[in-house]
Subunit: 206 residues, 3 copies
């Protein structure tokens, strides 16, 4: 199917972008070549692995379809050698990352729904698909996950997952609504970056 093929290409673009972000974090922490590739792999595919385990889809796609692993490792190795260039391309990377956020959330939510997960759980798993890799990347490099600390990132995913779930309930299925929801999330994420929106932090009073 053209639809399935388009989705695969979109998915692999998300994998490559998230892998490059993980690999760049690994380079910054002075990991070796293997470590950089490993963190890139986990950043790109960790969220999807978690989702697949939770919906009982084993082996997870990251191990079942070689194109995912190869894309993640290739993008990580490219980042290892090209990372100064990546920094100059910072705006492009943020744009692609926002696109990955939207796509991973939309496909993750729909996969959870298709596996029979009820709406609230499907939204949570859709969000985890998008943010799980970044969480694992930060844990592996010894950081408190950035997604928990600042910026509007996971909330965009959660809102988008709710939108996808509601649309699915209303009978909108197929590629178009999915791409629409992913595009909306990408736009909101870019707007949040541009406007420097951030979530409130409590003042600890201990």
């Amino acid at each position: 199917m053209t639809g399935g093929y388009g989705l695969l290409v979109a998915d692999l673009i998300g994998v490559a972008v998230f892998a490059a972000s993980g690999a760049t974090a690994g380079v910054a922490k002075r990991l070796d070549l293997f470590g950089v590739a490993f963190v890139g792999f986990v950043a790109a595919l960790g969220g999807g692995i978690l989702r697949d385990l939770a919906i009982g889809s084993v082996p997870p796609l990251a191990f079942a379809d070689w194109r995912y692993a190869v894309t993640a490792v290739a993008a990580s190795l490219a980042a290892f050698w090209l990372h100064p260039t990546l920094n100059r391309l910072r705006r492009t990377v943020l744009l692609l990352d926002a696109a990955g956020l939207g796509l991973f959330t939309a496909t993750g939510t729909l996969k959870a729904i298709a596996a029979g997960v009820p709406p609230v759980g499907a939204c949570l798993l859709g969000m985890l698909t998008a943010i799980g890799g970044g969480l694992a990347r930060d844990l592996l490099t010894g950081e408190i996950p950035v997604v928990l600390r600042r910026e509007i990132y996971a909330v965009v995913a959660l809102g988008g997952a709710v939108l996808v779930t509601v649309m699915h309930r209303m009978g909108f299925t197929g590629l178009l609504p999915l791409v629409g929801a992913a595009g909306l999330m990408t736009g909101v994420r870019l707007l949040a970056l541009y406007r420097k929106w951030s979530a409130p932090v409590a003042a600890p009073r201990f």
Copy 2:
């Protein structure tokens, strides 16, 4: 069933208490509102998710029954706004945490037995149900897990899990023995806190 309903209420109280402990840790680390809710969710439901994955019960209860996620998030948000009050209620929180420890261990062990896990594995999974969320909370907030460092906490869970398994083998089933074992664990945990019991630490001689 009244029994099932009583168990659900007990389970949700445990979820709320563990979520509040996770959320408070998140506030102390200056996470944003989303981060606080996320760490609360993981602290409350991470142990059960791990257990459900290990016994092949997918999707895990945290994603299959919306009441768990909603309770965890509501308790986390309450802790976000009320955390100075929570500190004044420190004794109450420790009491509820001890009750959560007992209940999560007892129900976790029985679920593992019901899924056909042999006794030693069921005890380990019962303990992991109770301590897994706290482990994940500490990893997400950049701490070496407190349960590995001091105090009698996990050992109470392990001992309680053995007791539950032995009682199950001897034919004691139903709500009463479960509540009895949970109550005993809660009591021992509170005694350990009151008497400041702690496990031995080796003097590193490198």
Copy 3:
């Protein structure tokens, strides 16, 4: 079967060695007796648990067969009391660790193949079986995983997993090729230690 029994003994030796390495790391971080045993358990069995979850073999062997958990805990407790001796035995520990690396990779890869995982995924899961426990050990003790930072360790596992997969494809099955591949990995790992081989690190230029 003699073959199955030999494999079990080899597997349990790997478990004991990895548990001792985890427990020693726990002692160095001044964890208490429970924490040391827990980190030892995770270091020995974490990689296998991850593999079993990914291939849908639930409950994972670590919970299904009590001999694994008991071996891991016994070796951890031994390390807790004997750790100064372990340091004097550093060369022996490194030798056994290299043997564990080879054995865990070989058995992990074959289990993934037997579960129907395609070649690339089976190689990744074989490697994860061998390095997953060490990764979890380092995360639990607040370190950036050493396997990502230096030395030739995971790459030996990955190369060995590819060899095992190719041999399996070519029809070499049974105990002998497995032991041969494991022995080869052990030898390469020891050579890498002796020659102080390490993977390249990128100079971060941000």
